[in-house]
């Protein structure tokens, strides 16, 4: 280990998962997962299909509460509140206001570009035009989309290309000033050039927010993340600095996956 970098435990922590278990009905999808999320860093979740990485990501903003038959236990502590996000007394709506999410496929609403971006403000009851306008511009700039859409903010969002739609979804997620951004395979439906632009964007965003990203693409994890967690069959096999996971993984299973022996 590079001594100048220091131990992960000494870095500022934004959130930590503790002994997290998840069941889809009878199926035990996540087993005793414990891992930190370092503040203003990008953490990547990798692993073969069905390993539970998306399930873990969606636990952070309580998306599982939308469906019947899901059970979970353990804790996801958010700092600085030191509050367990999974506590039944915690309102999932409040959680989702602070932890935003970007999905696998761009899912803009059937509304104008402008209305899409300010959706989070709208549902919070903000109606003041000047506030909304400022938010929209700020978020679109942060998502590197402002230049392309500033003259057609009131066009339908579907008029945009796939890559622009995904950046619009990122802008939408940013417009609520979240502390954590959750990315669920954000580039799997996009071509390589657009993917590169989204990765570049993620790189810029980590100056302000903590990022957790699920990806199927190991090169992507290597390119964008500071930390990587390798998951397999619902277990967290290995967590560490991305370079270490990729260059000298400690676990044989991680090595097999990284080197493409299966997956």
């Amino acid at each position: 280990m590079d001594p100048s970098r220091g131990a992960i435990s000494e870095l500022p922590i934004k959130a930590e998962v503790r002994n997290f278990n998840f069941h889809y009905g009878e199926f035990h999808a996540l087993k005793d997962v414990t891992m930190p999320l370092c503040e203003r860093k990008v953490t990547a979740l990798i692993g073969p299909s069905g390993c539970g990485k998306s399930t873990l990501l969606r636990s952070f903003n309580r998306m599982h509460d939308l469906y019947a038959g899901n059970r979970y236990g353990g804790e996801i502590i958010l700092h600085p509140d030191q509050t367990n996000l999974l506590d039944p007394r915690v309102d999932p709506i409040e959680v989702r206001m602070r932890l935003s999410m970007v999905f696998q496929k761009p899912n803009p609403f059937p509304k104008s570009i402008y209305e899409n971006v300010i959706y989070g403000q709208r549902v919070r009851g903000v109606t003041k035009r000047s506030v909304l306008d400022d938010k929209a511009e700020e978020a679109l700039r942060a998502a590197a989309l402002w230049g392309e859409v500033k003259h057609r903010l009131h066009d339908m969002a579907f008029a945009l290309s796939g890559g622009q739609q995904q950046r619009l979804c990122i802008a939408r997620a940013l417009a609520t000033d979240p502390e954590v951004l959750l990315f669920d395979e954000p580039t799997s439906a996009l071509d390589p050039i657009v993917t590169a632009s989204i990765e570049e964007l993620i790189h810029q965003l980590k100056e302000k927010v903590t990022i957790l990203i699920v990806t199927h693409n190991m090169q992507q994890a290597a390119r964008v993340s500071d930390f990587t967690a390798y998951m397999y069959l619902g277990e967290l096999i290995e967590f560490g600095y991305t370079e270490e996971i990729f260059i000298k993984p400690r676990d044989k299973r991680t090595e097999d996956y990284i080197t493409g022996r299966f997956g």
């Binding site: 903003n61 998306m63 939308l66 019947a68 709506i93 409040e94 989702r96 206001m97 935003s100 999410m101 999905f103 496929k105 899912n107 803009p108 609403f109 059937p110 509304k111 959706y119 989070g120 709208r122 549902v123 919070r124 579907f158 979804c169 939408r172 997620a173 609520t176």
Partner: protein
């Protein structure tokens, strides 16, 4: 030169099987015939309507038909003002839709976005049962139950009136509106809902800001179908609204609608080819044109407001 003659030897195993070919053709022909029958019937209906209406309009000028304010086709002093019947249809349909659209939409939103699977699976068949009830039952329900109830509130209300018939007709149309609107809302992809929830929206906000706008074309189709049903409804109006043709826009009054007039005249013994007999067809054609108009309107709205998602 055809390919078969250029290569004389087609292997026995690859040659066309005549038996299979024939059975395929028979099935194709049967399917085509089934489709053709329905088109033929439609064309025949339109043909009869138009033919008899042409005969009618040779005796009654179109201008009189559209502008006269009396409808007395069977009297000695005959007047043929279709507006009289249209007003009855318009008033009763408006009352019905004022009931069916808000209630139907609310039910659709509830079933699609709020109800548990069990509630939905129980409620939907019961609602659809309402749609399957014979309209004559609704008619007597309006006359024997709703009208007396309304008379408690409005003592001047006559025994036959458009209001009671329209209200009951609205109840009858509720399941049509709610069922189709619910299907449209349920067809909105889960990804859109998740996007909304992930932004911190509540269920109600998700339903109104995202699902409803995304399903608007399907919901519009549900409304158009409801309108068509209201305009074409016969039995409830014939029973509960009275059959006196009267130019009125007051739902508290009795009046005849186009459909009620048709059923009234068709029940009497009018000589074939008489002017009274031909009025049925002129009225029927008017009704068909209105339904067609609504269908075209619905089609146009659906295309204009179609949401891609």
């Amino acid at each position: 030169m055809s390919p078969s003659s250029s290569s004389p030897a087609v292997s026995e195993r690859l040659a066309r099987k005549a038996s299979r070919h024939i059975s395929e053709r028979i099935i194709e022909a049967t399917l085509f015939a089934a489709a053709a029958v329905s088109i033929f019937v439609t064309v025949a209906i339109v043909f009869i309507l138009v033919r008899e209406s042409v005969a009618f309009f040779q005796q009654v000028p179109v201008v009189d038909f559209l502008s006269d304010t009396q409808w007395t086709p069977l009297f000695d002093d005959a007047h043929f003002g279709i507006l009289v019947l249209l007003s009855g249809t318009a008033v009763s349909s408006t009352v019905a839709l004022a009931v069916a659209i808000p209630i139907g939409t609310t039910i659709a939103i509830f079933l699609s976005e709020f109800a548990s699977q069990r509630t939905r699976e129980t409620a939907k068949p019961i609602l659809e049962l309402l749609a399957g009830m014979p309209t004559v039952v609704f008619g007597y329900f309006a006359l024997m139950f709703v009208t007396p109830l309304l008379q408690e509130l409005m003592p001047e209300l006559p025994g036959f009136n458009l209001l009671s018939a329209g209200l009951v007709m609205g109840i009858m149309i509720v399941p049509i509106v709610s069922s189709i609107a619910e299907d449209a809302m349920r067809a909105v992809p889960m990804a859109l809902r998740e996007g909304s929830y992930a932004m911190g929206a509540t269920r109600l906000q998700t339903a109104f800001y995202v699902v409803l706008p995304a399903a608007v074309s399907g919901i519009g189709a549900a409304y158009i179908l409801g309108i068509a049903r209201a305009v074409g409804e016969t039995m409830i109006l014939a029973i509960a609204a009275g059959m006196q043709p009267k130019l009125t826009f007051d739902p508290r009054e009795p009046a005849a609608t186009i459909t009620a007039f048709i059923v009234q005249v068709a029940l009497g013994d009018l000589p074939h080819g008489s002017i009274g007999y031909q009025t049925i067809f002129a009225a029927g054609l008017t009704l068909m044109l209105f339904t067609l108009l609504f269908n075209i309107l619905g089609f146009w709205l659906q295309r204009k407001y179609r949401e891609r998602y």
